[in-house]
Symmetry: C2
Subunit: 306 residues, 2 copies
């Protein structure tokens, strides 16, 4: 039986690249038949990375079967996984997020969660000397995953170890990290093809603060103007998206990668109060700039207050 | 703040020794102030192991405080941990059981779960070359944990890797594994001081099969006669223990380590039906011998049927 290796439902570079990396390792090093799959269309950066490293786009699946062998990477949250996940035969989990509970396994399995910026960094460590056997595309995928998740080491989630692994991969491949990162971030910033609702859901996690269920959405970009020019339409789309997804509010943070700041859209008084309570800022218009805010995991979620 | 390193509520050798091993590693190698603690009185084998390796008995605690730093080893099951565990600041989990869900962490942390027989084997791997720095008592604790959890390699949970690590430790220490295991199992078998209710709860996990909540208890011994001579009193104590613990039935498996078989006590028709459905045996009296059955994790729990 082929093991399916999958990330979360909103495939960014790490959730697209890491399944490919681990499926290669299982197939070629461990002798375990494995296939990377996606739970949705990769975002524009992930699509660029696939093309850049000449990697075939994994098949997109909508659910997993009872008893099917599955390796989960880049999440441990059942809400971000197929509905049937707890019926599958989960054989391993590799992740770098907080444990949220809810996943169950049928027996003891390999679970490796580390407080690092990127799943690919953990995989690099787990593979040990076998990394040397990886073809260029697999090493390139790891390099791109780390550049993406660390925003080229600008994100406060970045650890010295992520950076060291990334630099070792770039040196091995003879790649200029800065050039690659710039091309990746430009690809990520080209969101012209997406509707407002798609943008609000592109990189979004559910989070409850007090009695308010939030969709906490982040758009990392080197061209914030392209998104902020659509501010009115984005705010107009929020109530519909919130209602459909069972949330009270959508918080959209437009993260300016190069200037290392976030702009939060403030469509109403509820969001205004959350913004002021959470970030100690004073909101006057329908946006607020939050200097230095780059990471949902490290800076947004831990600070959210009602 | 000192990090408390703790195992589960029924401290056997692994849940007593592994916290001591990891607290040593945190203190002496990682420079993180840490203290091993217990959630109950160690069993007779664990008490022997502490004395044999001249290790002080860790303090017994009843709960953890809000925000207290905690490392959890040898379980990931909130039911086997202090009531306040999800309020603590869990900084790492090292375990070899199936993921049951229910534990949550405040941020991404180090979680290492492996399908190995023993927590100490995982620690040996995680420590890498730093194992060489461990004093005799710490290496001895690891050796004893592996001999205990594998029943000196008789248990089907034993992997080649557990065995290799155990043999390396024994060689390093110049210890005869067979002699040590015999002394440990003799200590474990000396249960004369315990009441029937204590015996039923000594090494017990809750498990639901169909609509029946079970306490699945195991007593590993080299002197099964000592326990089976108390069969009538043990069966008489079962309804009270089940009621107090919110279970319908107690299944007590007396595992004969040397003869590699288990004797299940059969106090009533419900247990008789479970035994016959689960193990394909035919029960005539109030006990049934199950040849080859040594492991709750590998052989009992996965086979239980209503």
């Amino acid at each position: 039986m082929t093991t399916k290796v999958l990330g979360h439902k909103a495939p960014d570079t790490d959730s697209t690249g890491s399944p490919i990396v681990w499926a290669w390792y299982l197939n070629e090093v461990k002798g375990v038949p494995a296939e990377a799959v996606l739970l949705g269309e990769p975002n524009t950066e992930a699509a660029f990375v696939l093309k850049h490293w000449d990697l075939p786009k994994p098949a997109i699946i909508s659910d997993v079967s009872e008893g099917e062998k599955v390796v989960i990477v880049d999440t441990n949250n059942p809400a971000e996984l197929p509905a049937g996940i707890n019926g599958a035969d989960i054989t391993a989990i590799i992740d770098h997020h907080k444990l949220v509970g809810g996943l169950e396994t049928k027996g003891p399995i390999d679970i490796t969660i580390r407080p690092l910026a990127c799943t690919a960094t953990i995989m690099y460590d787990l593979m040990g000397d076998d990394v040397a056997k990886a073809p260029r595309g697999i090493k390139g995928a790891m390099l791109s995953c780390i550049l993406s998740d660390t925003l080229e080491f600008r994100s406060p989630t970045t650890t010295d170890h992520d950076k060291a692994v990334c630099e070792a991969l770039a040196k091995d491949l003879g790649v200029d990290m800065g050039e690659l990162a710039t091309a990746m971030f430009e690809a990520k910033s080209d969101v012209s093809a997406f509707s407002e609702a798609e943008l609000l859901r592109m990189d979004s996690k559910e989070y409850t603060v007090g009695a308010t269920d939030l969709r906490v959405s982040v758009l990392e970009t080197t061209a914030p103007k392209m998104i902020l020019d659509r501010k009115d339409a984005l705010m107009a789309a929020m109530p519909g998206v919130a209602k459909e997804d069972g949330a009270h509010e959508v918080l959209l943070f437009v993260v300016d990668i190069l200037n290392e700041e976030a702009t939060l859209l403030v469509p109403n008084d509820t969001v205004k109060q959350i913004a002021e309570a959470s970030f100690g800022c004073s909101v006057s218009g329908d946006t607020v700039v939050l200097p230095g805010i780059m990471s949902r995991k490290k800076q947004i979620i831990p600070n959210l207050k009602a």
